[in-house]
Symmetry: C2
């Protein structure tokens, strides 16, 4: 089976970390991305420029590969399905990608499978402005959202003015106690491995994960419950590949599936440092037809997203020496050449025995490291 050709669609931070993991396998890595200056492009001799929605180019790229993995939902699912039919191994399953990338279809699937979700309704683009039911409500664009972009809370009727007129779902607002993510890998044989649940602490302003704690602070009972729902979801929905399931836990302790991502996830960066097999390696193992690796966590981790400040321009790292002097912190800086306000530029993994100590260090990192534009 070796040496295989492995195509990675998307060369952002996830593509970079997938490439990094692929280096431990005897494969030839090719990267496909619209931007030849993307993070991963520097680390391959085989770069293909193309849009994620360019079906023809995607098929041309994928046809040269033995296996294809992708870092983003925005990739054209039809192209991947066609590649799969041609015998290219595509991980995660492109048919799942197809219903996942439309949040309306995703909700419908989850509902039909009787998985726990918050109530929702479809609101078409033309109906947005005339919505006149109860508030607050959460608007989620059916397509094109990512990282909190495309999700907004509509508190009052007046807020509807700001709402973008695109086909959406309007979802009930839960009283959220915690947000939890469960990353899982499931192969064609039905073998399944779960990473320990992680707790995501959101930045309410940026509407992005601010930091996360792995493992999540959950009782054994709650932990079992959430893994049980995750297993049910994976099996009922016939998920094959690597998936992150994001959950809300409400004030009463009830779990709701918020959404599913058919790919490696920001909430699994720490698995590089803290787990036997990282989520990146896991996806590659599956793409190469190898057995799943152990997901056991060996040290507690806190993961902090490192965001750009509010400037725009060529990237500059300030205080990097001071930040790197903080012990037990590992940094990954994605090498993005340009900053934009709030852009994800890297992450820090803090490895401490107690969460209090980890939070203290995180605050120290925040104080010391500034990612901004060159004067």
């Amino acid at each position: 089976m070796f040496t295989q050709k492995l195509g990675i669609i998307g060369g952002g931070q996830l593509g970079l970390l997938l490439t990094q993991a692929a280096m431990s396998f005897p494969v030839q890595v090719s990267i496909y991305d619209p931007n030849p200056h993307c993070s991963a492009a520097h680390y391959t001799r085989h770069f293909s420029k193309g849009d994620f929605d360019d079906k023809e180019r995607l098929i041309a790229f994928g046809s040269l590969q033995d296996a294809v993995i992708f870092e983003t939902e925005s990739v054209n699912a039809e192209a991947l399905i066609e590649l799969q039919e041609k015998g290219v191994r595509v991980i995660s399953c492109p048919k799942a990608l197809q219903w996942i990338k439309d949040k309306g279809c995703q909700k419908e699937k989850l509902k039909k499978a009787r998985l726990p979700i918050l109530d929702f309704r479809y609101i078409s683009a033309s109906e947005i402005k005339s919505y006149n039911d109860h508030f607050p409500i959460v608007q989620k664009w059916r397509k094109g959202g990512y990282d909190g972009y495309g999700v907004q809370i509509i508190k009052t009727k007046a807020d509807l003015k700001k709402a973008k007129e695109v086909d959406s779902i309007f979802e009930e607002m839960a009283e959220i106690e915690k947000e939890i993510s469960v990353i899982l890998a499931r192969n064609e044989l039905g073998d399944i491995e779960f990473y320990p649940p992680v707790e995501m602490v959101f930045d309410p302003v940026a509407n992005l994960i601010d930091y996360l704690i792995a493992p999540a602070n959950l009782s054994l009972k709650k932990r079992r419950q959430i893994l049980h729902i995750s297993k049910e979801a994976a099996e009922k929905l016939k998920l094959v590949g690597l998936y992150a399931i994001e959950f809300f836990m409400d004030k009463k302790g009830k779990f709701y599936i918020n959404e599913i991502a058919p790919r490696t996830h920001n909430s699994g960066h720490h698995t590089i440092n803290g787990n036997i097999t990282s989520q990146y390696e896991q996806q590659i193992r599956m793409a190469l037809g190898l057995p799943l690796g152990s997901t056991k966590q060996i040290i507690p981790c806190l993961m902090l997203n490192l965001l750009a400040d509010n400037t725009k321009g060529r990237t500059s790292y300030k205080g990097i020496e001071e930040a790197f002097a903080i012990p037990n912190v590992q940094y990954t800086l994605y090498g993005k050449e340009e900053v934009k306000p709030g852009r994800k530029m890297g992450h820090a993994i803090i490895m401490e025995k107690t969460i209090e100590k980890a939070i203290e260090k995180m605050n120290d990192v925040r104080k010391k490291l500034l990612i901004t534009s060159h004067e």
Copy 2:
């Protein structure tokens, strides 16, 4: 200081793992190697072909970089010294490389610094065949040895026939109880970090490390002793950069420095999985002028070298699926396109709580994975 240009001299397995570590930094990586099909060459857009002894080409390559690191002692030290004088950061220190790469000079340095070594004498190429003192004795070529190549035991006068006629040192044979390696990083400020000592178990046939155990099975007293000698060596010899010090411990428990490598080392592969900062990241931190990272070990590791069998030809991996199904084992396969008898093709890191369990798994890996040539 960022984005920096980082040149890696040598694209074998260490160069590959250095490149993998470099991906977490906002740097531009260039690789220099005589072989454009070397392991690391696939993972850069900036490859320079050149011999390790080609001073002119090395200077041309290095002059384009902000910092240079190297994976092999066979690189021309004069070229690196010249680069350093021009203001390129070279890690490890090329002046140390210069005396380390001649085992005669290295021994002399260690002796002058009153560090513990085995007795030795210089034997020039023309004196080899007429050597007539006591046996057994160990011949070490002054130059050009690596990985056990260039070291041989001369048991009797008759064995002298097989001895290669090159300038050598003849070293006393110790009654070896254990071989231990200590990897350390020391920067220009004199900051120093030690990795926990590791125990190297040799394959007496291949004369290569067979597997290693980290941390080494040493009493607290012995551990302190060996770290004390390592510190003395680093300070007396003014080592700047990343070094592996290989020790013999004799039956009486006395330590002798066997040799020093001015670079990342086979005995530190496990630091990727088992320690907060890997040896590879540590070298890059130094090259970029960043503070040293924590060397703390978070899980015990056993490292097994994965060697090719006795064939020659295009690489083929047999039993890879079975091998990857063994839990708590991480593999790194270097992607070398050709096997040669006994060639290092990869390594496995086994993460278990007890050494007995780890050895059991290692034997399972050996049984299952065969790296051979295509029929």
